[in-house]
Symmetry: C2
Subunit: 157 residues, 2 copies
Amino acid sequence: MRTLDTTDLRILVELSRTPEATTVALAHALSLSRNTVQARLARLTEEEVFLPFERRISLEALGHPLTAFVQIHVHQQQLTRITEALKGIPEVVQAHGLTGTADVLARVAARNAEDLFRIHSRILRIDGVDRADTSLAMAELVPWRAVPLVHSLLDRG
Amino acid sequence: MRTLDTTDLRILVELSRTPEATTVALAHALSLSRNTVQARLARLTEEEVFLPFERRISLEALGHPLTAFVQIHVHQQQLTRITEALKGIPEVVQAHGLTGTADVLARVAARNAEDLFRIHSRILRIDGVDRADTSLAMAELVPWRAVPLVHSLLDRG
DNA sequence: GAACACCCTGAGCATCCTGCTCAGTGGATC
DNA sequence: GATCCACTGAGCAGGATGCTCAGGGTGTTC
């Protein structure tokens, strides 16, 4: 995978500032020609630097304001099947396989406390799941961000 | 906050399928008039149903392919200051205040193992942090998704 | 029933953006 | 010098955008 250069990073920052910006606006903001920006955007898209649009959908707007993290202990031999079962639960928004004490960390979106309990139970009932510990997110202390990382890259080189 | 109706949800699904779709294309795909789609998109934007573009930047493309979850135990009275300190670390991509055993769950993006160790140490050095347990994400078993949730809402009503 | 609010539709129009091509320039590499 | 690569400026046809307007459906309220 190619390492993004300064121009790429500046495009990402500018896009984060004004996501709806047109190619012309971007070119103007970065003092580049429209041609260049167009080529860069095409390449960034080609290289899948942009994640799916899905990530921009607000779960809160979907009526699921609660976020919870479920630490799941499983029989590791059955991980593949368990993963499929997790995918069958629409409220499971993301799941990672982890090192350490827990095997799987699932991120869950729920309507309310009862809803969360229902989802928790559903995860527990998956065959091969030993235990599941749910932690409710009370606050998003640091909202998702990537721009600071981009800036730290810009500062270095 | 308004509850999204069927048309809104269908727009979200279609946008997830083809994020680069123009208003005209969307209108055609959903058998709606361009006027309607334009009004809906404006309203969805106004209501902040769309999260910041930042969420679509691939951390892997930024040269940080490693994801880790750091469970942080803190002196709760100093949570505000600790939050600010976390914000000062660009590799901390997101952080939540949790119920349960740990106080804070931070999501970290790292270049490699040594980089992760460095970030872990930096978190540990924050004043008021008791301990920090890092779990490395070995696999994204369920990649981030919202569409299944949207579909479950569409199926209900 | 009448008035009202709300949403969708189709049309129109000026302006702007897009995707594409081409020729020219400058830097870096060998 | 020759080659490669990226950026630039220009041009052009086609299409999209933002906006407005009039009209029609539907549901609500009094």
